[in-house]
Symmetry: C2
Subunit: 151 residues, 2 copies
């Protein structure tokens, strides 16, 4: 767990927001040379702090206008139940994220669908038939704001 200075934090924040920025451009912005900036970024990658690079897909543009968060409480909770549920949940194409959580629910799922009618189909035919599902709670996403978070 290496320690970071303000410049490292600024670089992380900048790259978390837009990873197309080159080391040269970031260096000019934060008063460093291109190689110095590059070495810092490399160090963050080697330390595992930068875990990868991804493109962000616009689900709306792809025709998936509905995002729903589901809280799922399992009816049966053995080790096998958890594994079965996870395997089956991750196999549903519309399921983007499967989170095993502690609290009122056992799992949280992020599900996308083309529209509400499509979501109902997914819910009835895919979610409610998952092995071990008990109580299900739903929240439909209206707007979402992402922040850099603490660094």
């Amino acid at each position: 767990m290496i320690d970071l200075d303000d410049t490292d934090r600024a670089l992380l924040r900048a790259l978390a927001q837009d990873a197309t920025q080159s080391a040269g451009a970031l260096g000019r912005r934060f008063g460093l040379s291109q190689p110095a900036t590059w070495r810092r970024i490399k160090r963050l990658e080697d330390a595992g702090i930068i875990a990868g690079r991804r493109v962000v897909m616009d689900r709306e543009a792809l025709g998936f206008g509905v995002t729903v968060f589901l809280g799922v409480k399992l009816a049966t909770k053995g080790r096998v139940s958890l594994e079965d549920f996870e395997r089956a949940a991750t196999a549903i194409p519309e399921v983007q994220i499967v989170q095993h959580v502690l609290g009122l629910f056992d799992y949280r799922l992020r599900v996308v669908a083309r529209d509400i009618a499509d979501f109902e189909r997914v819910l009835r035919r895919r979610i409610m038939t998952l092995p071990g599902v008990g109580q299900v709670e739903a929240n439909v996403l209206l707007t979402e704001e992402r922040r850099p978070g603490p660094i």
Copy 2:
């Protein structure tokens, strides 16, 4: 809303998983030349389907081992209340995501903290003092699995 063929979908899936792959490497993988692959990716960017590129930060490696999902029900729900709540919530450094949702709760927050003690501090001093907070429900993240989702 342009329509995509299987190759476009394969490129999207590959880049959503790892955006460091070059157009040449992806082309070899999917049987296309470098310029052809590049033009497809460019088309996806121009259409807004690829909305950006981000680095993925490992919160664990940064010393933030605790992630909690909060469901928040507001006590007062006028237009002003929503805006006040959102402004205040997004200003908390530990809050990574603020989702305005429809359902049992009004907002869902993704909060990260160094440990449970640190989370309690954030909850008591930051979250519970947000303007208009009513009922709050929490789920602590154990494991998380991300899938490409439907394309």
